[in-house]
């Protein structure tokens, strides 16, 4: 399909006896942020490495930009920016010098690419500090600068917020979002932190023990998320009036002509139903929804959930 940037078909990786990635069918859509969510050791990094040719594919296929990764390496890789684990930089050179080397190796898209990439991640240009003296956060930022140095169409970022403090995480989150929204990049990002992915991703893939358990858009998943009572009645206007007058309900919203959502889940629904019936409003159904995203992921991953 045209709007798929990455597609994997039955992608599998076996290390000795252990199956690290098991028949994964992933679909990363153009211009969106795809969050690959899973616990440590679930197989996130291995999937990314296979897409980038950093490790061999045991069986199955990976397509990037609609081309099979195998055999098209030279045409695909210049269009991807990636951080996998700790990026390899020369410890005795400064950040700027390190990026100049990568610019020379890969080529760039504009004359002052290094300076601009450093600006995006908030590192100083032509600073004297050498890489080995960098803090973990600065190293991570330089890694991201390196990934966006050649203005790639697709970014593959493996836990890019690792080792950053909360403010740093928020900054990185913001510019990843900006790269997608303001510059139309497609981004595949992995994380083991649910809240992080929920803030960033448009689509989410949940991976557990090498198996892709679910792939869906965040909006779809969030529909399953929330604490409320879904009430279907014949007349919402009248029902709202009664709820407000007799039960002092303020926290509710009207979904359509027959559906109300009540956010106070402690409401005595038996009493509500009775009162509505007495006022000649027929209650078609009332249903308690009590799932948070966390609960949902626990269910999907079979109990233990995601840290």
């Amino acid at each position: 399909m045209d709007n798929l940037m990455i597609e994997t078909r039955q992608l599998t990786k076996v290390y000795g006896e252990q199956t690290a990635v098991n028949k994964v069918n992933m679909h990363v859509k153009k211009g969106r942020i795809y969050g690959l969510l899973g616990r440590n050791g679930a197989g996130k990094t291995t999937i990314m490495k296979m897409m980038l040719g950093l490790t061999s594919i045991h069986s199955g296929e990976a397509f990037v930009f609609g081309k099979n990764v195998k055999g098209n390496e030279k045409r695909i890789y210049p269009r991807i920016g990636a951080i996998i684990e700790t990026p390899g930089f020369y410890p005795n050179l400064t950040g700027t010098e390190n990026l100049e080397i990568f610019a020379k190796l890969r080529g760039t898209t504009k004359p002052n690419a290094v300076k601009e990439a450093l600006e995006v991640v908030g590192l100083p240009y032509k600073d004297k500090k050498i890489f080995s003296k960098y803090s973990l956060g600065m190293k991570q930022r330089l890694g991201i600068a390196n990934a966006i140095l050649h203005d790639p169409e697709l970014l593959i970022l493996d836990e890019p917020t690792n080792g950053l403090d909360p403010i740093g995480i928020a900054e990185v989150r913001k510019f990843i979002k900006d790269l997608c929204v303001e510059r139309g990049k497609t981004i595949l990002i992995s994380s083991h932190i649910l809240s992080e992915i929920a803030l960033l991703a448009d689509d989410i893939g949940i991976i557990h023990d090498g198996v892709l358990l679910e792939e869906n858009s965040l909006a779809e998943l969030q529909k399953k998320n929330g604490k409320y009572i879904l009430l279907q009645v014949s007349d919402t206007a009248k029902a709202a009036l009664i709820l407000e007058r007799k039960f002092c309900v303020e926290e509710y919203s009207i979904q359509d002509d027959h559906t109300l959502r009540l956010y106070d889940t402690t409401l005595d629904m038996a009493e509500v139903n009775k009162t509505l019936m007495l006022e000649n409003i027929s209650v078609i159904s009332s249903q308690l929804c009590n799932d948070t995203l966390e609960d949902y992921f626990k269910k999907v991953t079979g109990g233990e959930g995601i840290a």
């Binding site: 929204v181 303020e250 926290e251 009207i254």
Partner: protein, 307 residues
């Protein structure tokens, strides 16, 4: 003897030259192939495509120009898409967030019209209906304001004025309200002139919305505002001792129509803080919020002295 040596020497030089030119030619040929491929992709509409080039390539300038065209076109397409999306969101907003108060307003008016209530109760129903109508009017106004900001269509009138004086003026209007609601207040504004480039209406809106937010959601009884300034920027801290914002909600509070679980329903419209953020960023400033549930919330705004 000398002649033979000379002859060999020139042949060797010529050979070197031929090899050198051949490699250059090969590189150019390879580059032309990549340029062609990139251009075909761009022609098909993939404006994210870039052509990579190295510093000493002969085709460098052509590549830079191609990239520049693609980048500029891309930016334009994205701008158009963003304003299109802003209007789409407006439509969703209108249909979702107007529906609840409007339906319940209809409920009240129908009850009055069908003479289900009489006397004092009837008057009360009419008052409630009027409140809801006012709320709707405010909501629609805020919504249009927000959409204008979001689509970057708002025109600002930046002028140089004294921030301290301006703040004092705005706060003077709030004092009767604070006393009326029995809020204890503390105001620290330096007794000097501090000239800043600012749109005074926007600044008024920022403070008003923050105060409004405290009144509607805070549930506290103390409020303080502290302004401090230096050569580069002014910092405005607004604090209240209300119920605070949970860590779960805090990252979302500036999102449009995000309201914490506790405050969904009739109170507030979910646009106030989002408008504040848009206005602050129009001044190239930043706004952050920190909060401890049950003890209070602190909003910190930094505005640069000159834009």
């Amino acid at each position: 003897m000398n002649w033979t040596l000379f002859f060999f020497f020139t042949t060797f030089l010529c050979l070197c030259l031929i090899v050198y030119l051949a490699t250059r030619l090969c590189r150019v040929k390879e580059q032309l192939f990549f340029i062609k491929e990139g251009l075909e992709d761009i022609k098909k509409g993939n404006l994210n495509r870039r052509v990579l080039t190295r510093k000493n390539d002969m085709t460098k300038e052509i590549c830079y120009s191609i990239n520049e065209i693609a980048i500029n076109d891309q930016a334009q397409v994205i701008r158009l898409r963003q304003s299109e999306q802003a209007y789409k969101r407006l439509m969703t907003s209108l249909s979702h967030d107007v529906k609840t108060p409007l339906t319940s307003l209809v409920g009240y008016l129908e009850a009055v019209q069908k003479k289900m209530v009489t006397g004092e109760e009837k008057d009360e129903y009419i008052n409630v209906a009027l409140d809801k109508a006012h709320y709707l009017k405010d909501f629609v106004e805020s919504l249009f304001e927000w959409v204008k900001l979001d689509a970057k269509e708002q025109v600002f009138q930046f002028e140089i004025c004294d921030l301290n004086e301006l703040s004092r003026n705005i706060l003077t209007d709030w004092i009767p309200m604070l006393e009326d609601k029995q809020f204890a207040y503390e105001i620290h504004i330096p007794e000097v002139e501090y000239n800043i480039t600012i749109d005074s209406n926007a600044y008024r809106r920022i403070l008003n919305n923050l105060f409004q937010n405290i009144f509607v959601h805070g549930e506290g009884n103390q409020i303080s505002i502290r302004i401090s300034e230096n050569e580069e920027q002014a910092t405005i801290i607004v604090w209240d001792n209300g119920k605070g914002i949970s860590a779960k909600d805090l990252p979302h509070i500036f999102e449009r129509l995000y309201q914490g679980d506790e405050s969904r329903g009739s109170k507030g419209n979910g646009l106030g803080l989002s408008i504040v953020q848009e206005l602050v960023s129009a001044h190239k400033g930043t706004i952050t919020a920190t909060s401890t549930p049950t003890t209070g919330t602190k909003f910190m705004i930094s505005l640069p002295k000159t834009l």
